[in-house]
């Protein structure tokens, strides 16, 4: 039977983006080959098509880039804040002008739906540069005392789930505060950062202020270990975050870490069910669940469990999975074969441990990396799928009877990044939010981001905050 919700294909054109067959490293304002000449391929996760060949940074290249950033720091750090602001405003404007091109590029390289790159990632990227541009000449008023100083060279390592947005979160505050940066994008998603290098060129940004080094984990480790890096900023897994924390021990490096999460999305019996279901879907299936603050543990009050699950399954059956460039697509491709294997293995563990698996009935394309929206019921707190971050479209459903039990279960994790609360009762929202150990709490909404709003975790979800006035602290000597 054909669904009454079938949509005609509505593909976004690829012609708006011109991907070169190869790219270099961006060091001191120039594209350059890697010192050892190594390259790697970046593929489109939805088709496995090779998009481009990219230079692979080694420790030698890291050294070169840090030197360039150090040299650029001399002038950049003493530039009047108002002038630095204008560069950032220029960058923000160029991002807006080129946002369609960047959205298509990001969708090709990452696999996420164009709907999300176009309507979430790119507007936020531009907004971050606008927001921090305005801080550059107002740092005396930021609450860190008069004349706060930049730290120096920032070594930044970002993940593949929001390649350009994570770049913006890192680079915008670093430049606004007078630091220079060496940024390593993830090996599966280097292209938008390299396009950003071109935006820096168009904006006339002085050479060496921003350096981009595509590469693997070894390049990231060389960057965070480099003795002439003053500030380390990392977004990624908790395991790597701990390794970085050990690596910088005993040094003067300032560090911020944005790590994993296992967010609890708590649905009380008086919640508006339709909105809650939309919130649950946003919470775990946005960006294929490859979100550190995803609401990956649904805690639903026992009395409305059946109602919520029925509505949720009904809703999931209408999600459209497929070509990320199609404007009607809700669920795109998993970012890499490796990540797909990890999600698959964790889901199998869930089944093996006795949780009940349900996947949305959808046809998976024959090429590319795909995983159907999936949920597990009969999950206990001891189950792997309730404890480990899966970083994919997999939701674990647990139940509770009292608000106390909900809080206890929500807090029963090594992580403390995000949580959701769904209830019509205001006092309950405030009481529960007060007791949740998480850095970001969405009440009757989920996965909202804004450059003015600090983001970051408690416990093993890392330290420091990004965004807002709080985000400045990470890049200032205070």
């Amino acid at each position: 039977m054909t669904s009454p919700f079938e949509y005609a294909p509505a593909p976004e054109s690829r012609s708006v983006v011109d991907i070169a067959p190869s790219y270099g490293l961006f060091i001191d304002g120039e594209f350059t080959e890697a010192a050892d000449g190594k390259v790697f391929k970046t593929v489109s996760p939805s088709s496995e098509e090779v998009l481009s060949e990219v230079a692979q940074a080694s420790s030698e290249d890291v050294d070169r880039a840090v030197k360039a950033a150090r040299k650029a720091f001399e002038k950049w750090s003493v530039l009047p804040g108002a002038e630095r602001a204008k560069y950032l405003f220029r960058i923000a404007r160029i991002i807006q002008e080129r946002s369609r091109e960047l959205a298509v590029l990001e969708t090709l390289d990452n696999g996420k739906p164009i709907k999300e790159t176009r309507d979430a990632d790119l507007p936020l990227v531009a907004a971050h540069f606008f927001y921090y541009a305005g801080w550059a000449d107002k740092l005396d008023h930021a609450g860190y005392g008069a004349n706060p100083r930049p730290l120096g060279v920032a070594g930044q390592v970002i993940p593949w789930n929001f390649p350009l947005l994570m770049l913006a979160w890192k680079i915008a505050p670093a430049l606004a505060t007078g630091n220079t940066v060496v940024l390593k994008p993830a090996e599966t998603t280097p292209l938008s950062a390299l396009f950003f290098a071109d935006i820096c060129r168009q904006a006339g940004l002085p050479k060496g202020v921003v350096n981009i080094l595509p590469g693997y984990g070894d390049a990231g480790a060389a960057l965070t270990a480099h003795p002439d890096v003053n500030k380390v900023a990392f977004t990624g897994s908790t395991a790597v975050g701990k390794a970085i924390a050990r690596q910088v021990a005993g040094t003067d490096k300032k560090v911020t870490l944005e790590l994993g999460g296992k967010g609890a999305n708590i649905v009380f019996d008086d919640a508006p069910i339709d909105q809650a279901v939309e919130g649950i879907v946003t919470g775990i299936f946005f960006n294929q669940g490859q979100v550190c603050c995803a609401g990956s543990r649904l805690l639903v009050q026992e009395s409305v469990q059946d109602e919520v699950l029925d509505a949720l399954k009904r809703r999931l059956s209408t999600l459209r999975l497929g070509d990320p460039l199609d404007k009607n697509t809700d669920i795109g491709a998993i970012n890499s074969a490796e990540q797909l294997a990890r999600i698959t293995a964790l889901a199998e563990t869930g089944e093996a441990e006795g949780a009940e698996r349900w996947s949305a009935p959808c046809e998976l394309p024959s090429s590319g990396y795909w995983f159907a929206p999936t949920l597990f019921t009969n999950v206990t707190q001891a189950h792997t799928v309730a404890r480990d971050e899966i970083f994919g479209p997999v939701l674990s459903v647990l139940t509770f009877r009292t608000p106390e039990e909900a809080v206890a279960k929500a807090n029963n994790t090594q992580y403390g990044l995000s949580a959701g609360i769904w209830t019509e009762k205001g006092s309950r929202i405030l009481a529960v939010a007060d007791r949740l150990r998480a850095g970001v709490i969405w009440a009757n909404t989920f996965n909202k981001f804004d450059p003015t709003s600090p983001f970051g975790g408690y416990k093993e979800s890392g330290y420091g905050r990004e965004g807002g006035r709080h985000g400045l602290e990470a890049y200032l000597d205070v």
Binding site: A245, G250, L259, I441, E460
Partner: protein, 295 residues
């Protein structure tokens, strides 16, 4: 010259609001700056440290849950008690740090004033580091500071009282609880501070004070999975400081590294904010006046 024999004091730990001896039954000799014996202080074991963490964890929720106003009142009460026992601390600080009575009195006054300063911070810090965020959308969005949890504090070695107060007060002012390792060679002012805290309405377990060997106790606290942060102020050995920071990475404890500090200078807010997390809560605001009409 009186021939009255003075009464020595048995110094004990301060853990969970009680004054235990070290469970190990060990003590070590504490001398003044001229090597004259002053007292036998408890030589804490790793078990004492773990017991202190249990007490600090038990007290944390209740302490954080008190109103900021009440925490301020209690901290001020500590200053009141200190003022009344000033002579004792002047003597202990003079002996510990080899200062004249008048110089020790200046240090003790500064420590009491510092405690008063932090007492005033309890209900202001949220307004300084928190607030509403003007997000681009119909949302109420509020950031508030919250305590990190249980904090291990390695107190400064040289500044046995002013330094000590300067590292404890900011930790508890914001709702954290503390496990403090006193100055190794000069622990007596810290152990006496425990007696003051016990009579200042401060709930038991909010501050726990251990004396002993930093190198013996600190590693187990740095590695402890139920400790959320560590202030390495008094770790003078770079190798040990690095080891402690590496151990702290295991559960991503917040770390304040050792650095040169002039304890008599304005402390600023760094130590106050170092043990805070920022929680941001979002909620839709709806749009009662969506059409621009008054409501």
């Amino acid at each position: 010259m009186s021939d009255r024999l003075s009464v020595f004091k048995t110094y004990k730990l301060y853990v969970g609001g009680k004054f235990p001896r070290s469970e190990s039954g060990r003590v070590y000799e504490v001398s003044d700056s001229k090597n004259k014996w002053l007292a036998n202080a408890p030589l804490s074991s790793r078990k004492d440290a773990r017991d202190a963490v249990v007490a600090a964890r038990k007290a944390q929720g209740g302490w954080a849950g008190r109103t900021a106003y009440l925490r301020g009142q209690i901290l001020y009460r500590v200053a009141e008690m200190l003022e009344g026992r000033k002579d004792q601390f002047v003597r202990e600080v003079a002996e510990a740090e080899g200062l004249s009575k008048s110089k020790a009195a200046v240090v003790v006054d500064a420590a009491i004033d510092r405690w008063v300063w932090y007492a005033g911070w309890t209900d202001k810090v949220a307004q300084i580091v928190g607030g509403g965020n003007p997000v681009a959308g119909p949302f109420f969005n509020l950031s508030s500071p919250e305590p990190t949890g249980v904090v291990t504090v390695v107190a400064p070695q040289k500044s046995s009282f002013l330094g000590l107060v300067s590292v404890i007060a900011p930790v508890i002012a914001t709702g954290n609880t503390a496990v403090v390792i006193a100055s190794e060679d000069s622990p007596l002012p810290a152990l006496s501070l425990g007696e003051v805290l016990a009579t200042s309405d401060l709930p038991g377990g909010v501050v726990n004070i251990l004396s002993g060997r930093t190198a013996e106790i600190a590693p187990s606290l740095a590695a402890h999975q139920d400790v959320n942060a560590i202030d390495l102020a008094g770790v003078e050995d770079d190798v040990l400081a690095k080891e402690l920071e590496v151990a702290a990475a295991d559960n991503l404890k917040r770390v304040v590294r050792p650095q040169p500090v002039d304890w008599s200078a304005d402390p600023g807010t760094h130590r106050l904010t170092a043990f805070l997390e920022t929680k941001t809560v979002w909620h839709p605001t709806g749009s009662l006046g969506a059409s621009g009409s008054a409501y």
